[in-house]
Amino acid sequence: MTLLFNYLIFPGLLFSAAIGLFAGWFDRKLTARIQFRVGPPWHQNFTDIIKLLGKETIYPAQSGFTFLLSPYLGFLSVGLVATILGMNLISAASGFNGDLIVVIYLMLIPAIAMILGASASRNPLASVGASRELKLILAYELPFLLAIVALIIKCGGVIRLGKILELQALGSSNIVSWSGALAFIVCFFCVQAKLGFAPFDIAEADQELMCGTLIEYSGLPLAVFKLTKAVMLYILPLFLIVLFMGKDTSLFFVVLKYIGLLILIILVKNTNPRVRIDQALGFFWKVPTFMGLASVILALVGQ
């Protein structure tokens, strides 16, 4: 019963969706202020979701169950990530051995759900978006995993989030060391790509692909995809905080670190143009991969 409560309400789906929608508003407001506009009111993203729930759902002929079910696949898995991360932050003993690996896998599922849904929608623009999303996954997964391997080596081979947090609480945050700092920079680029923010918003390019992967979605499934995006905006910075800045996990400092990371992500988003898919692949396999390798080597020699 507590497990269900944790998954559905407190650190899980409902709570993380609310925080994520609020963070989404923060993104829109800050973007507006950067462009010398006023920006939407604080409840704007909640209103969008409520409106989408009341709209008609259209699905293409012959699209099948995959089209309607794939949004839920992504949403439920990011909810699980939010639960695991939240519970670990509340008490470090509540995790299980290997939950870092589980979290890494689950964070990939929203992208896969988006590819499934886009491919099922039988729209040429959506299929272009799906193929770009797939190439983007190939691009960012390699440096992301390398950075996490460096972190695991640095923590002495533990793959448990609670243990990593404990080690940081006893010593210092992982980001303060050379290998940790390099791994953090690599992870930051990968988070930008996982969120689908500029300069890596290639799969959903508004101007060229008309929302790309989401082009055929309307009503309830679109709302679920928007919620998935919102939860991603909550869990990915939180994941970075747990792995790299876990020295002080009191509520005040976690919120402060979260807002700081969010502002950094939004500033990068607003000051960079969109890259082409071949540029993104080239970038991720050149710069962050080698930074990740350097970070692994530094972790092995104990820096």
Binding site: G39, P40, T47, D48, D206, I215, E216, S218, L222
Partner: protein
Amino acid sequence: MSLKTKALTKSIWVFHVSAGSCNNCDIEILDMFTPRFDIERFGIQLIGSVRHADALLITGAMNKKSVPRMKKIYEQAPKPCVVVAVGQCALSRHMFRDSYNVCEPLDKILPVDLYIPGCPPRPEAMIDGIVKLVTKIRKGK
């Protein structure tokens, strides 16, 4: 007024259809999203896919090529969806009235909810029109 209507009027996603306009109205529509007018304050967003649309902004005189496509676009939009005719051409065909390839004014083709006259209408006029439409919907159409 139900929660659904309230949410709908506070977050209107606009899809922009050009049915053979001279681009003047289209430029004025884009002006609404610039820092000077900033219509995102009211939750109005320009979106790329008609599946996400709550309002269709239609500009230009309808010609024989664009009318069937326009009907198709209207059928593709999820309901409830309002149709806004922007500019004198969409309202009455304007100076193209006797042209060989121009069909009928927009309201003979689709159910139009809001007319915004002008050649081109100013962004203030469009914002004023949207406010009137929102009040109309909120009072229960």
